[in-house]
């Protein structure tokens, strides 16, 4: 289903949960709605479902305004954060609910339910009650139930929040495959950036009720449009005095400019290890953290602490050691503008240093 939202607003009393959100979603896309808790993501989802009425703005499905349609008539499937399974019904009855409402013939219902249970790997569980299932199984029941009436839009509210970490990654992959196979337009809400980046075709980032940016995960990572997006996606260090970083002295000309530097923008090495010697500056290792697959290194440079990674394959550092640091690029922003800047000394032809 093609979805369009125009100038959506929702306020609860004085609190603006959603302010002036507009976006468009193409048919068949899997969209991740990402943002910190209380950012208005769930409100947007509930308004799309018709469970909440917008204070103002339009919601269009297939170019038709659906604001006044009740949830029953919107043709959506909704998976709730706590699944909201019908406790007193078996797995079979839960999945069959949406079909029974539509008064479909018994054998058709049976056929559809069994094929969905097969698809979700719940075959053999049809006579169990929700309290006899594990978290992951409940989630799949909720999923099968939402898909049963063949909705055109699937909405998922924090679908993996209540599942432990190990199964969560499995379920993510499973969900993505399943949605690809069913080919249904889907929107899921999450506060976990890894989840959004891994699963979604496109991400929408919301903060304080505003839509900050919409784009593919790669786009958002590479070209964050607002400081919030830059700091929310990926790890980063904020540097207030950019003039102290070698190669970025020019940036200090703009008043009040702050830099955001990701760990992967920084290269560190022992003296002579980095090729572009002229662009490096002196640093001192402050602390080392073992991260399982790599080192997280905190390094002091001219009074600023930068964070970066170092491969386990390379020679290990020790706290207090002198190293060379090269900052490849930085994301700069002030009140008016934000932009990406490459290290000047890197771009320039080799200066007369030799």
């Amino acid at each position: 289903m093609h979805i369009e939202v125009r100038g959506l607003n929702k306020s609860f009393g004085d609190f603006h949960a959603v302010s002036d959100v507009s976006f468009e979603i193409e048919k068949g896309k899997l969209i991740g709605l990402l943002g910190p808790s209380g950012g208005g993501k769930t409100s947007v989802l509930r308004m799309l479902a018709g469970l909440e009425t917008p204070t103002s703005g339009d919601i269009l499905f297939h170019g038709k305004r659906v604001n006044d349609l009740p949830p029953q008539e919107r043709g959506i499937g909704f998976v709730f954060q706590n699944y909201a399974l019908f406790k007193h019904m078996t797995v079979y009855d839960n999945v069959a609910f949406g079909l029974k409402v539509k008064k479909q013939p018994k054998d058709r219902i049976r056929e559809r339910v069994m094929s969905l249970l097969e698809l979700t790997g719940l075959k053999g569980f049809e006579h169990r009650y929700p309290h006899q299932l594990s978290g992951g199984q409940r989630q799949r029941v909720a999923f099968a139930r939402a898909l049963a009436p063949e909705p055109q839009l699937l909405l998922l509210d924090e679908p993996f929040a209540a599942i432990d970490a190990k199964i969560r990654t499995e379920l993510r992959t499973w969900l993505k495959e399943l949605i690809d196979r069913v080919g249904i337009t889907s929107i899921f809400v999450t506060h976990d950036q890894d989840e959004a980046i891994e699963v979604a075709d496109e991400i929408m980032i919301m903060n304080k009720g505003r839509l900050e940016q919409k784009g593919t995960p790669w786009d958002i990572y590479k070209n964050p449009e607002t400081p919030f997006v830059a700091s929310f996606i990926g790890e980063s260090t904020i540097v207030h005095d950019i003039g102290r970083i070698k190669g970025f002295e020019e940036a200090a000309v703009w008043e009040g400019t702050t830099a955001l530097i990701r760990p992967e923008y920084i290269e560190i090495g022992k003296a002579g290890e980095i090729r572009l010697q002229s662009a490096t500056m002196e640093g001192r290792i402050r602390q080392l953290h073992f991260r399982g697959s790599e080192w997280l290194v905190e390094v002091d440079v001219n009074g600023t602490t930068l964070k970066t990674y170092r491969s386990l394959e390379k020679e290990a550092f020790h706290p207090g050691e002198e190293v060379s640091v090269l900052v490849h690029r930085a994301y700069l922003f002030n009140e008016r503008d934000s932009w990406m800047m490459e290290n000047r000394l890197k771009e320039d032809p080799m200066p007369i240093h030799i």
Binding site: F78, A84, K87, G98
Partner: protein, 216 residues
């Protein structure tokens, strides 16, 4: 006996309206917070007010000397000192029971299952019977048993409203009172014994309903 009629009418009305009011108080968004709070405390009024005062209130509002009472009597409908008044008095006294029994259950199960049903295409009536009712069923049954017990034993409010006209507006409890007053101890004991037997039975049912309520 009149008691049976009153108990049946009161239980039926209180069950339906009690569940309805509980649903509105917990679920309805269109009722403002302040109005909800006001209604909520009004529900408790009969608990706070002495039943005798409650009965007196009905006499004062609907008695033959008031405007409404006179109008109704003119239409051939006697309220006070007759069955409708007694039913009304018992209704007033037992009203909070069902609401107070069902509201916490509704709050506990939350609105999500109902919302899920609505996104699956079910309209409110279908949702109520298929989703809400199975969850609150035992709470409602417990409320019914309590309401029956209370209306069976209600004395104060009924005494004031009924006028205790012998063989006309007498319930089991006012009969016991009458018999004791007349030193007719044997008759009083007999009626009391029947009431006690009912109470014991109701107590057993209450325990059973409570147990079932906790299962879900």
């Amino acid at each position: 006996m009149m008691t049976v009629i009153i108990v049946i009418i009161v239980t039926a009305i209180n069950t339906v309206f009690g569940v309805m009011l509980a649903l509105y108080l917990v679920r309805a968004d269109w009722i403002g917070q302040k109005l909800k709070r006001l209604l909520n405390s009004l529900v408790d009024l009969p608990f706070a007010v002495s039943p005798v005062i409650g009965g007196l209130m009905i006499v004062l509002l609907l008695g033959p000397n008031t405007v409404i009472g006179a109008l109704l009597e003119g239409a051939g409908f006697k309220v006070v000192y007759a069955l409708p008044g007694m039913t009304l008095a018992t209704l007033f006294v037992t009203f909070p029971i069902m609401v107070r029994e069902v509201m916490p259950v509704l709050q506990e199960i939350g609105a999500q299952q109902e919302e899920a049903a609505s996104t699956l295409g079910a309209y409110p009536w279908y949702t109520f019977w298929r989703v809400t009712w199975p969850s609150i069923r035992w709470g409602v049954i417990y409320g019914v048993v309590l309401t029956v017990a209370r209306s069976l034993g209600e004395f104060g409010a009924v005494l004031v409203v009924s006028g205790n006209i012998i063989n006309k507006t007498q319930t089991a409890t006012t009969l016991v009172y009458q018999d004791v007053e007349n030193f007719n101890v044997a008759a009083a004991n007999g009626v009391a014994l029947v009431l006690a037997a009912f109470s014991a039975l109701l107590l057993l049912m209450m325990e059973w309903a409570k147990k079932r309520k906790e299962v879900h």
